[in-house]
């Protein structure tokens, strides 16, 4: 099966094309078709996974060149290793769930089949990204998932907020891609190839200067920052929640945003060559995670809380990978790679579960505001439990997936005390805000009556996928139980791999942290023994900071977008006024020159001749001789120039004026005399005219 893994990628593309060109008007058919395709992909992915489990070593498909210019090649190819196989299954399984879920969720949408087309296109891009064996191909699909994300966020483009959000998402990730491109260029320049294996070999062999590797790695990481919504490019992800909820579930929580993590994991060999770059990665990760968690504490929009939670969790993974890089570069052993990828998988399941659950809730109450919900437990018999399972998992409740993966991340930070403390703090906050969300949504009394009245359980197409995901949210993590000989850690491994061992202290500490978070939420929102409002009052500045998302949007608007727009407008003015002005100015000058003659003739001279004032006339009587139309003027002018010419010629030829000097002197004298006499007679003439 492995050699036909490209079919996994191509089936969704086929689905997209078929829907666009053939099934556009047949809504149900297109949905079923698209689900069928992705389900087939899922089955094939599982087969690939099983085969990969079975044999050692990675599988490379023959690369296929799309550009070949001497040594420069751009290729498409497949690389199937455990990481790929794992991601394939994750993407296709969540993809299948989401598509089934969407049949119910998008039921009455006028662009129903288009939604499935977009989803198929997304899955195609995402799978392509996963399966790629070189940087170039990765970049291609990297951009394509950006496009589909743009399309899906802007699916309800009539809403201005959606239209804004899709643009924001695309542009912000593009900023990250900037760094990615530079990284790619450096890879091409220093390694001469884009192929992962070759690049890693070269870097591993130290063929590239270490300073360059750092820059290069940070460049590649920039791409991940954009795509995985890490600080400082995280601002687009919460806004991206304007898209339909299934989209949020798959694109903006489980798969596409995890692509950044995937990229870092995939190119881990570069990072381990540079401790500095890895440190940058880790710091960015933890900073993002912390910041997002604080924001999530105070938000009231259900999807935004989940979005910030996603950012926070992604930061976690990034941090883990970064620390792995740091440790490995320093020669230490670290579970970071395993922890990051493991959390990537578990997070994909429970976060998509949470999103879809939230979607189900929104579907029921038609609002995103958790302050308008409450007591939905009774109305939503299926949704509420699975949502709580998801929340337990993310909070790190013992024996859920989240518990195992989060423990590994905590384990990674041992040796970096600051990270350990922050990681635990974040884990606490995560448990708190998730359960704040749960308590406000499902428990207590309904706060807005009419919302509650209309609430209802979602159709089966929506709930069945939830069950599957809930199952995964609990048991997917069990693949990483240290007791397993051939668990996740030995399967998806970088380098020699990591053998996990049960660290009971760690288990207990993180269980306590998680449970205390849940407990605090319980106290505040169920027992109400601690007033949330009071705390908000007390820490007003902090609360405002969190509530306004650390003012990132405002800062970007003021510091980047506005200046660029202003600059653009200014440049435009510059274009019209200065550059064009210079060119037109030359033309105008020429025109002006032509005009000057006419103008002087028309106004000054004629004015003077017509006797308009003494001074003007005096000036005019001199300038008059510029006037054309009088042949004697022409003659005088030309004779003067002839004389000048002769004199110049003398000068140039170094001729001493000899015998006929009289002639010249005469001619000059005559000319001078004639000019003078013209003036005199003219004046006399005019005065006599004036007397008349």
């Amino acid at each position: 099966m492995t050699e036909h893994a490209y079919l996994i990628v191509l089936l969704p593309l086929f689905s997209f094309l078929t829907i666009v060109f053939a099934l556009r008007w047949k809504e149900q058919v297109s949905a079923v078709f698209s689900v069928g395709m992705i389900a087939t992909s899922l089955i094939m992915s599982i087969m690939v996974l099983i085969e990969t489990l079975g044999h050692q070593g990675d599988y490379y498909a023959a690369a296929f060149s799309i550009v070949e210019l001497g040594a420069f090649k751009l290729q498409l190819g497949m690389l199937i290793d455990p990481l790929t196989a794992m991601m394939l299954v994750v993407v296709t399984s969540i993809g299948t769930c989401v598509e089934i879920y969407s049949i119910g969720y998008m039921k009455d949408d006028p662009r129903f089949s288009r939604f499935f087309a977009y989803l198929s296109l997304f899955l195609f891009s995402m799978l392509g990204l996963v399966i790629s064996d070189n940087f170039f191909m990765t970049f291609i699909f990297w951009e394509l998932v950006g496009l589909t994300s743009y399309l899906l966020i802007g699916f309800w483009f009539e809403k201005k907020s959606a239209a804004d959000a899709c643009k924001k998402a695309f542009l912000t990730t593009r900023v990250g891609d900037l760094g990615f491109i530079v990284g790619l260029l450096m890879i091409m320049y220093y390694c001469g190839t884009f192929n992962y294996a070759e690049v890693f070999t070269m870097i591993g062999a130290g063929a590239v200067p270490s300073g360059i590797v750092t820059i290069l790695a940070i460049g590649v990481f920039c791409g991940a920052v954009g795509k995985s919504a890490q600080f400082p490019l995280h601002a687009w992800l919460p806004d991206a929640m304007e898209g339909p909820t299934p989209v949020s579930a798959i694109v903006h929580s489980a798969t596409m945003v995890a692509a950044g993590v995937y990229l870092v994991a995939r190119t881990m060999s570069i990072f381990i060559a540079s401790a500095e770059a890895s440190m940058v990665v880790a710091v960015i990760g933890i900073a993002t995670s912390l910041m997002a968690a604080t924001i999530a504490l105070v938000q009231v929009d259900i999807k935004r809380i989940l979005a910030y939670s996603t950012i926070s969790q992604l930061g976690y993974m990034i941090m883990a990978l970064g620390l792995y890089g740091v440790d490995t570069a320093n020669g230490h052993h670290s579970p970071g790679f395993y922890a990051g990828t493991f959390h990537l998988m578990t997070h994909a399941f429970f976060k998509s579960l949470l999103f879809m659950g939230a979607g189900s809730v929104i579907h029921a109450v038609h609002t995103n505001d958790i302050m308008e919900m409450g007591g939905l437990w009774k109305k939503m018999k299926y949704t509420a439990p699975v949502f709580l399972i998801g929340s337990l998992s993310i909070a790190g409740f013992p024996l859920t997936s989240g518990f195992f993966s989060k423990d590994e991340i905590v384990a990674t930070t041992f040796g970096h005390p600051v990270f350990t403390v922050l990681t635990l703090l974040i884990a606490f906050m995560t448990a708190f805000y998730m359960w704040r969300l749960c308590f406000l949504t499902f428990f207590g009394e309904p706060r807005v009556a009419h919302r509650y009245e209309h609430a209802h359980e979602s159709p089966n197409t929506m709930t069945y996928p939830l069950f599957f995901l809930a199952f995964m949210a609990i048991f997917a993590g069990w693949t990483g139980i240290p007791a397993l000989k051939h668990g996740f850690a030995s399967f998806v491994a970088h380098g020699e791999g990591y053998v996990p061992h049960a660290d009971w202290v760690n288990y207990i500490v993180s269980s306590i942290v998680g449970l205390s978070g849940i407990g605090l939420a319980y106290l505040m929102y169920i027992k109400k023994s601690i007033s949330a409002d009071k705390i908000a009052e007390k820490f007003k500045p902090l609360y405002n900071l969190f509530w306004n998302k650390w003012y990132f949007d405002e800062i970007y608007q003021a510091a980047i977008i506005d200046p660029i727009m202003t600059f653009g407008r200014w440049m435009w003015t510059f274009d019209g006024k200065i550059i064009d002005g210079a060119v037109n100015g030359m033309a105008t000058l020429t025109m002006w020159w032509a005009d000057v003659k006419m103008w002087i003739d028309k106004w000054i001279i004629d004015g003077a001749v017509n006797g308009a004032g003494f001074i003007v006339r005096m000036a005019g009587s001199v300038l008059k001789y510029l006037q054309t139309g009088r042949m004697q003027f022409y003659l005088i002018l030309s004779m003067i120039l002839v004389i000048v010419m002769i004199l110049l010629k003398f000068e140039i030829a170094h001729i001493n004026i000899e015998w006929p000097s009289m002639t010249v002197i005469f001619i000059i004298a005559v000319l001078a005399l004639s000019i003078a006499s013209r003036f005199v007679s003219e004046d006399a003439n005019q005065e006599s005219e004036n007397e008349k």
Binding site: G629, Q632, M639, P660, M662, T663, I675
Partner: protein, 99 residues
């Protein structure tokens, strides 16, 4: 010979002066004749003093005299026309065509 040439130069300059300053077109015509005559004197003088062998210069001056006469005729005819149209032969006033 210098004397002859100087006379010619003076004559030429006088003609030039006349052409440049006369207001009456008839006057200009007369001044032009002066210039032509200066040329004639030059030619004849050169022929006599510098190149006495042939009569080329004198011949040339004869041609010039003839042609100048013809030219003067045409000129006077145009002046007549001018007078008919403008009732004026003052040079400065004839300047409809300009710019």
């Amino acid at each position: 010979m210098v004397a002859y040439l100087s006379v010619a130069a003076v004559l030429f300059s006088l003609g030039l002066f006349g052409v440049l300053t006369r207001r009456n077109i008839i006057g200009i015509l007369m001044s032009l004749e002066l210039m032509f005559n200066a040329v004639n004197i030059n030619l004849v003088a050169f022929n006599k003093f510098v190149w006495p062998g042939e009569l080329t210069g004198q011949l040339f001056s004869l041609f010039i005299i003839v042609v100048a006469a013809a030219e003067a005729v045409v000129g006077l005819a145009i002046v007549l026309l001018l007078y008919r149209n403008w009732q004026d032969i003052t040079n400065d006033n004839i300047n409809v065509l300009k710019w």
